[in-house]
Amino acid sequence: MLYSKKVMEQFQKTEHYGQIENADGIGKVGNTRCGDVMWIYLKVDDGVITDAKYETFGCVAAIATSSMAIGMIKGKRIEEALEVTNKAVAEALDGLPPEKMHCSMLAEEGIRAAIEDYQSRHV
């Protein structure tokens, strides 16, 4: 198997996937052409991400980075969540195979898109 133990753990983890009813922000990124689509849901209270979930169509790396990214932003302030980079997500997973690095980009983009959606609704 070309994935790290941490990637497989996050891939198997059930805690972070699903949807949030009446989410305060939703980010939809990726496309089916290259095979990865990620939706990020946020619940925000007083600038703090109180809950976050993902729904992902994609490979092991895409699902694992989704799960890891959710774990990294839950309970964080919006400003802190915006500082979560794709590099940080990949490092937290003990690395990704080079051809899978684009999956970690998706996680960063997904978080940003969800936060932008939240901010556009709450100005």
Binding site: Y3, Y17, F57, G58, C59
Partner: protein
């Protein structure tokens, strides 16, 4: 032999223990170079030629029409490059669902100035003889169409395609890597000029390709050296592999029909059960004639590599046409040619069975596949959003 939960026989087969037993002496006490002078070498040469005869018999050829080389890919290369370069110029026809060993070789010839037409397939995976007729040009020198497809198992109307090609005066090559050993192949009856196959798909070892070249047909060599294989493929022969492949061919002549019958029943059972238990499954290559051992499905709204990884947790070994299971970012060119959407091509699963597949394997797969599909659908944004309740 215990190869449990293995469903990737189209990728490679285990070496049959009877084949291995036949091979082993050629690594040790019978290591001799068949080109050498002394008695022991002569005996090795005789065994090698015996293997050539068995391999020829398996496909209805004569022994002098069988060439040994390093892989199925090399066999395709030698057939296509060798015949085209011998002609010097002209037009080549192939199909959209060929193995990269054929497609990329034809594209190489295009770069060298040859004309190239790539025929489409219909939504069931078949090349149309009418399309071939229309694509033929006065300068067409070679047509290369695979006998059976490695991903979806569709079997092409080879007899008709070969007849059309030969009546036109062009050469007909077929990549029969997935056909030989799975169905009866008779080059003489059908009228084929060049046919490629491989030892490791027929329970022989890796590292041996075979090329049938009709007697009298001229090719340009790709490898130069001591003039082995009538100057067409220099290099000391991979004797152990050749003897093993000969034994594999001998076993197939006796066992192929029974194997195919058993596998067809399991394949049909798998298809029926999967369609009954998992909603929204597409069959890729859904019509006969198709390989008895192969079932290719798209489980809609989920991705193939994730399925492979989850099934792997239960020890189940399969393959997928998703981009993530390959080096490229595009999913299977075969499934796209079939007209599948990218999403469905990414969500494909290939189940290919063989000689050592047993009923326990089938049960294991049917036990684990439905919950894996359900779990990944829970994660997928597409599954929930296409449900009527929204």
């Amino acid at each position: 032999m215990n190869v449990s939960n293995y469903f990737d026989y189209n990728a490679t087969t285990p070496v049959d223990p009877r084949v291995l037993e036949r091979m082993l002496p050629f690594f040790t006490e019978r290591f001799f170079n068949p080109s050498s002078f002394y008695r022991q070498a002569g005996e090795v040469l005789a065994d090698m030629e015996g293997a050539r005869a068995e391999l020829a018999k398996l496909i209805g050829a004569t022994p002098d029409e069988i060439l040994f080389c390093g892989s199925g890919t090399e066999s395709d290369n030698l057939a296509i490059l060798g015949s085209a370069r011998h002609k010097g110029s002209g037009h080549i026809i192939t199909s959209a669902i060929e193995h990269p060993a054929v497609l990329n070789t034809c594209k190489q010839l295009q770069k060298e100035g040859f004309g190239l037409t790539i025929l489409p397939i219909d939504s069931h995976g078949f090349v149309s003889p009418e399309d071939l007729k229309k694509a033929l040009r006065p300068d067409t020198i070679l047509v290369s169409i695979m006998w059976a497809n490695n991903e979806i198992g569709s079997i092409q109307p080879i007899a008709e395609l070969a007849k059309i090609t030969r009546e036109h005066g062009a050469l007909f090559h077929t990549d029969a890597v997935q056909a030989v050993g799975k169905l009866p192949v008779d080059v003489e009856a059908i009228g084929i000029d060049l046919l490629s196959f491989s030892a490791h798909k027929i329970y022989g070892p890796k590292g041996l390709g075979l090329l049938y070249k009709r007697r009298g047909l001229r090719l340009k060599a790709l490898v130069f050296g001591g003039g082995h294989e009538k100057g067409l493929r220099s290099g000391t022969e991979n004797v152990a592999a050749i003897v093993g492949a000969g034994e594999a061919a001998r076993l197939l002549s006796a066992e192929m029909a029974d194997d195919a019958m058993r596998l067809r029943q399991w394949r049909d059972h798998l298809q029926e059960q999967i369609l009954a238990v998992i909603p929204q499954v597409l069959i890729n290559g859904d019509q006969e004639p198709r390989l008895a051992n192969t079932l290719n499905i798209s489980i809609r709204h989920i991705e193939g590599e994730s399925m492979l990884a989850m099934l792997e947790q239960f020890g189940l070994a399969l393959s997928s046409g998703s981009a993530c299971s390959s080096k490229s970012l595009d999913p299977s060119h075969v499934l796209l040619a079939l007209g599948r959407a990218h999403e469905d091509a990414h969500g494909s699963l290939r189940i290919s069975m063989g000689r050592f597949t047993n009923e326990t394997d089938i049960k294991q797969l049917l036990t684990h596949l439905p919950p894996v599909a359900a779990r990944l659908r829970q994660i997928s944004p597409f599954w929930r959003n296409q449900q009527p309740q929204g």
